[in-house]
């Protein structure tokens, strides 16, 4: 085996320029794929992190039918205190859940005493909300990072439009489920940057204040945002929770609750999917590059060495040996390209981080892209390259192994 490698490497060194050219072609492909996967992967992870950790949570539980009409924030589809009690028990019992935060969502009018506009609001228990969506505080661009009774956090677009500053007094007016109207004064405690997706431009107030505005004796719950201990286990957690809650049915025997992962709630999921599709096609391109370039050199190598093949076949080298000789040569070429590509690709990813690339996404400005390159990515891409290199050399190698020694020896 060692000797097959020795011969393969020496043959590669024999045509240094061609070997280098082919290896660099593969290198370019590998670098391109690595940098692309790294940048898009990091972008995706970052955006998903933003979405789940600054507003949605990893998954949400609603009363059945709420999500279908979530745009109206329907008060009649809230979870009643008794049902919420049961839900709490189920959530507390689930080992994969790190934290959860109940929210009372409603739409209302918002006024600074001279101008009035619509607002969507979340009544929250601040501590629990900040535990469930820890990046929410990072969106507070102005004001304090806490929320007490009588205070409200409003989205930045609203603050700009109505020229409201932290500390100003505002009025929230809302219609309760019976149709009667109620209002309450709040002090603006913070301005929130917008986030991408539904709920990205909502305001926040204390859940007991919300219940008071809506004239609820005890706060009803519109949605429960849930944070998992391990985000990568999301699908399993959703399934598990659905199973747990399936037992909770109403008088007609229909389930009371519905569970949605962030993917079902945010349109960014489709962008994430598109990124995955693009990454997939880029990988296909890499495969094509490796396939064509390796096949090309190996066909050339076999053609140039017909007499050598004739010689070694004549002196008794078995066809399988001759086959492996050429396959190993293709393999070495693939390994060479993959290794150089891995090194150069990692270096470029590192450089991107050192330079620090900033980008804007929708309302979010100057997001810092921190690219990461998982060792598993390096391994997977290297493995693809090497496997394809071997496959590409199979056909020429097979041809070499099938050559008739006399014909090959006569070849000029």
């Amino acid at each position: 085996m060692n000797n097959l490698f020795k011969i393969a490497v020496r043959n590669l060194l024999r045509y240094k320029r061609r070997t280098l050219l082919t290896a660099s072609l593969i290198t370019i492909g590998v670098v391109f794929v690595l940098v692309f996967t790294s940048v898009t992967g990091s972008f995706k992870a970052m955006m998903i992190g933003q979405i789940t950790d600054s507003m949605l949570g990893h998954l949400q539980v609603h009363r059945k039918g709420y999500v279908a009409s979530i745009d109206n924030l329907p008060l009649n589809l809230n979870i009643k205190p008794k049902a919420y009690q049961k839900l709490t028990e189920a959530l507390k019992a689930a080992p994969e859940i790190a934290a959860f935060s109940p929210r009372l969502k409603f739409g209302g009018m918002f006024s600074n005493f001279t101008e009035t506009t619509n607002i969507r609001l979340n009544g929250i228990y601040p501590d629990r909300e900040f535990q469930t969506v820890p990046l929410l505080t990072s969106r507070i661009s102005d004001g304090k990072k806490t929320l007490s009774r009588g205070e409200i956090m409003i989205p930045t677009l609203l603050a700009k439009g109505l020229k409201i500053k932290v500390g100003d007094t505002v009025v929230v007016v809302a219609t309760n489920v019976d149709g009667s109207v109620n209002g309450k004064q709040f002090v603006v405690s913070g301005i929130l940057e917008s986030a991408t997706g539904p709920g990205g431009r909502d305001g926040y107030l204390h859940i007991e204040d919300a219940a008071e505005v809506l004239r609820m004796p005890e706060a009803e719950i519109s949605e429960v945002a849930v944070r998992l201990k391990d985000f990568s286990r999301l699908p399993a957690a959703v399934r598990h929770l659905e199973g747990q809650l399936a037992g909770e049915v109403n008088k007609e025997g229909h389930p009371i609750f519905e569970v949605h992962s962030w993917e079902q709630l945010s349109p960014f999921f489709n962008i994430a999917r598109m990124i995955d599709v693009m990454t997939f096609f880029i990988k296909i391109m890499l495969i094509a590059i490796v396939l064509i370039s390796i096949m090309n050199v190996m066909i050339m190598a076999v053609y140039e060495r017909i007499r050598e093949i004739g010689t070694i076949a004549a002196i008794g080298t078995l066809p399988g040996r001759i086959l492996s000789m050429f396959v190993i040569e293709g393999f070495c070429l693939g390994v060479l390209g993959a290794i150089i590509g891995d090194i150069v690709g990692s270096a470029i990813v590192l450089i991107i981080n050192v330079i620090g690339i900033r980008f804007d996404f929708a309302q979010q400005k100057g997001l810092l892209l921190t690219t990461t390159l998982a060792p598993s990515d390096l391994l997977v891409i290297s493995a693809i390259v090497i496997v394809v290199a071997v496959l590409a050399s199979l056909q020429p190698a097979f041809k070499a192994s099938r050559m008739e020694p006399i014909a090959a020896l006569r070849h000029v």
Binding site: N3, I7, R10, N11, L13, R14, R307, E308, G310, T311, I312, A313, A314, I315, G316, T317, L318, P319, R321, P405, I406, L409
Partner: protein, 234 residues
């Protein structure tokens, strides 16, 4: 028993619509440790015959037994294995592997064809390097040595597996006559030392004189057999 028994061998080549009768009923026997040559004009069938004996090709008719093996019965892989274990080859163009050094070229059959343990491998190669007088050139690559030196390395490569038979098709055709003599004499000396049978072809009359048995071929038939030191027939 004879090492090679050829009985009424025919070899036809189909070239388009024409059938070329390269060998037309050739029969002979060659004893172990012989030093024989096939001679004859161009196109007389020397290469064709050596290819058959070398198990590189199959006769169209007739039987050919080499080292007790009917070579017509071997399939591709068996032929390769047979060549690897029983035969050695020396080529007109030397055909050393350019990426291997002198030492590695001689080592090649022991590594890639047979599986000889390292200690014995080294010993055999060293002995042959000395015998062919290439010990001091062992680390050179084929493009760094002369034609005569290449052919000496090729002889060592052919002998390193301890074959019963070494075949050499025009081994001296690319060498000047002085070197040609040296190469033929080296072959003869190796035969004396190792008792390996050598069969070579040539149309160089001067070289032919070195052979102990001579088969003259003309138009695919043996027209004369001369055995030095006694038996000479037909």
């Amino acid at each position: 028993m004879a090492l090679i028994i050829a009985d009424n061998i025919r070899k036809d080549y189909q070239v388009g619509d024409v059938v070329v009768h390269a060998l037309q009923g050739v029969g002979f026997e060659i004893e172990p440790a012989s030093f024989v040559s096939f001679v004859g004009p161009s196109g007389s069938g020397k290469t064709t015959l050596l290819n058959l004996i070398g198990c590189l090709d199959k006769p169209t008719a007739g039987t050919l037994t080499v080292a007790d093996t009917d070579i017509a019965r071997l399939d591709r892989k068996e032929s390769a294995a047979f060549r690897g274990s029983h035969l050695g080859f020396i080529f007109q163009d030397f055909n050393l592997l350019p990426v291997l050094t002198v030492y590695e070229n001689i080592e090649y059959p022991l590594l890639m064809v047979q599986n000889v343990p390292p200690a014995e491998r080294k010993e055999r190669i060293e002995r042959l390097l000395d015998a062919v007088g290439m010990a001091d050139q062992r680390d050179k690559y084929p493009d760094q040595i002369s034609g005569g030196q290449k052919q000496r390395v090729a002889i060592a490569r052919a002998l390193v597996t301890h074959p019963a038979l070494v075949l050499a098709d025009e081994p001296t055709a690319n060498l000047d006559s002085q070197t040609a003599y040296a190469v033929i004499n080296l072959m003869k000396r190796m035969r004396d030392e190792l008792a390996t049978t050598f069969i070579f072809s040539t149309h160089d009359q001067k070289i032919v004189g070195e052979a102990e048995g001579i088969f003259r071929l003309e138009d695919g038939s043996i027209v004369a057999k001369e055995m030095k030191g006694g038996a000479s027939h037909e």
